[in-house]
């Protein structure tokens, strides 16, 4: 009898534990998402008052794609570039901290997270100063002839990519660190024991074993970066705007909710498709070892 009760409880426990999270997701993610979907199929215009009405207006989707192809493309181009740069920059850093950090590990990790103690907006504004026309970076790049005299960095795509890279770097570095930190050093010794040079041992053992971190880091960087608008707004110009800028201005400026909602859905769908392809290519087999 008591045993039956125990079993029944054990059967229910996982669901009880899941319930708060599920309710939270339902209330604050699924419901708004449904509402957004509904909104994306409304029509009407602000000139006619706030008279949006649900009319299965699929044209919102086609005009979003037609009118803002450039912004969509730029979103993925910038996010992709920033992700690759963040990966290339943070891998050696994470590697060094994980394998050579010794007792300084925690302090070094703190340095990586340190920028997070300052608001996103302020951090990005600081980059305006850093990249400004008479700032240090521009002067340096002019001196080494990477940009012609009078050229600028601020208000270009380069600045936007730099800003995104910087802002999302910790999302890349931390998962990389965690996956590298977990690698048993004996495995690398075993590889060297089996005639692999240091570089071969890295390619055949260390890197494959750090793939879960690479995947987590790239997703955590790429997904929010593709929808970002702060960097393009503060560091770019209208010619380097991303789809996030359009959505933001439609929602908050023009209050063209149906168009903004449709764009959000398109963005979401593309990201989802890319993530699925990515997961396929990298292979779940490799991720689980």
């Amino acid at each position: 009898m008591g045993l039956g009760l125990f079993h029944r409880h054990r059967g229910a426990t996982p669901y009880l534990l899941l319930a708060p999270g599920m309710l939270w997701l339902a209330a604050f993610f699924l419901v708004p998402l449904g509402f957004l979907a509904y909104q994306s199929l409304e029509s009407g215009s602000i000139i006619a008052g706030f008279g949006y009405a649900f009319t299965w207006a699929w044209s919102n989707y086609s005009s979003a794609v037609r009118g803002y192809t450039g912004e969509f493309e730029r979103s993925f181009e910038y996010a992709g570039l920033a992700t690759v740069i963040a990966l290339v920059v943070s891998y050696p850093v994470a590697y060094w901290i994980a394998f050579r950090g010794g007792r300084w590990k925690n302090l070094l990790l703190l340095f990586i997270v340190a920028p997070f103690f300052v608001t996103y907006l302020i951090r990005t504004l600081a980059w305006q100063t850093i990249l400004s026309d008479h700032g240090l970076v521009v002067r340096l790049l002019t001196d080494i002839h990477l940009i012609s005299p009078g050229g600028r960095v601020l208000a270009t795509g380069t600045a936007v990519v730099a800003g995104i890279t910087y802002n999302f770097l910790p999302f890349m570095a931390l998962p990389l660190y965690v996956s590298l930190e977990q690698i048993d050093q004996t495995l690398i010794e075993a590889a060297e024991d089996l005639y692999a040079s240091k570089w071969r041992a890295f390619l055949r053992v260390t890197f494959p074993l750090s793939l879960p971190g690479v995947v987590a880091g790239t997703l955590l960087t790429f997904i929010p970066a593709a929808g970002d608008f702060i960097n393009a707004q503060l560091l770019g110009s209208p010619t380097s705007h991303m789809i996030g800028n359009v959505i933001q201005s439609k929602f908050l400026g023009l209050q063209d909710y149906p168009a903004a909602a449709a764009m959000s859905f398109i963005l979401m769908a593309i990201i989802l498709a890319l993530v699925l392809v990515y997961a396929r290519v990298v292979g779940t087999e490799k991720l689980t070892g």
């Binding site: 075993a190 590889a191 060297e192 024991d193 089996l194 005639y195 692999a196 053992v205 490799k286 070892g289």
Partner: protein, 369 residues
Amino acid sequence: MTVEAAVPPEAPAATEYDIRLIGLTKRFDDVVAVDGISLDIDRGKFFALLGPSGCGKTTTLRMIGGFEEPTEGRIELGGVDVAPLPPYKRDVNTVFQSYALFPHLTIFENVAFGLRRRGVKGGDLRRRVGESLELVGLAGLERRKPRQLSGGQQQRIALARALVNRPRVLLLDEPLGALDLKLRKEMQLELKRIQADVGITFVHVTHDQEEAMTMADGIVIMNGGRIEQLGTPSELYERPRTPFVAGFLGVSNLLEGTAVAGDRVKLADGTEVQCPHEVLGGRTGTVQIGVRPEKLRIGGDAGNSLSGTIAESAYIGVSTQYIVETPAGPVTVYVQNDRPGGQVATGERLTLSWSPESTFVVDALEGSS
């Protein structure tokens, strides 16, 4: 494609030693892990490095493998000084205590790892991996991942992965330490068979004296970073030369005395004990004589004798263990239970005897000379 492993060529004049350590020392900050050990290991031998935990066995092995740089001293493999060579250029493979199988690779790829680095490909690669897996009795598991195997199977794969490369020397760091007792016993015999089959020099690190005795042709006993004694299992057991070796390998009775001639020691109570000349080795002053419990007889006169009273006895089936209080100190005796009712009662007086040949001599304990 370049072959990465520049294996030192066979030394022109065939050396009889596979490994030669000369004054090898390793210090970590203020810890002296290995303290000037010199050692020659013959080709094709099963060699054991035996000693208590922390005596520097792993450090010695890691220096031979190239994972730790000696503070002082030389390491020669087949007559070639390997100091400048990184691990991947040494013709040595290691079986790690934790096995260190690559979790992301299949068993086939694990075993093929070393061969691939050396440019072995195609049918040759498949054949050698297959043979190696057969050698350890695990053919057919090629496509599994390491985590799908039991501990014992993983251990065998680690062995196959190292042996497939036919190294000059195989280093094994407590390879059986993680296995349960029954499996460990099986693997001891299995390892010995494999070593005899392949004829590669094995250097087997262990803290288990029984394991070393069962498996090795030669044993070096280490203590505190130094070599205590080197010899065959029977030499070390029959003729230990230091109190540490006498105590570490099996049970010994050690009695203090004074050397009175080249082959005689006078015990504390005045009894004179005979021993072979070479065992006393010219020592004078205070020494300890030793005799193994099973070499003692009750009664009789085998050459050396001592009298005492039985203080304790324990019946353990094949034999009975007695502790006999003698004027020279307590003595443990194992007596075969070769006839029913042969036990002697506690408190009885008796005479113990043993042959001079069974007597060994070790240095007196520090501070008592």
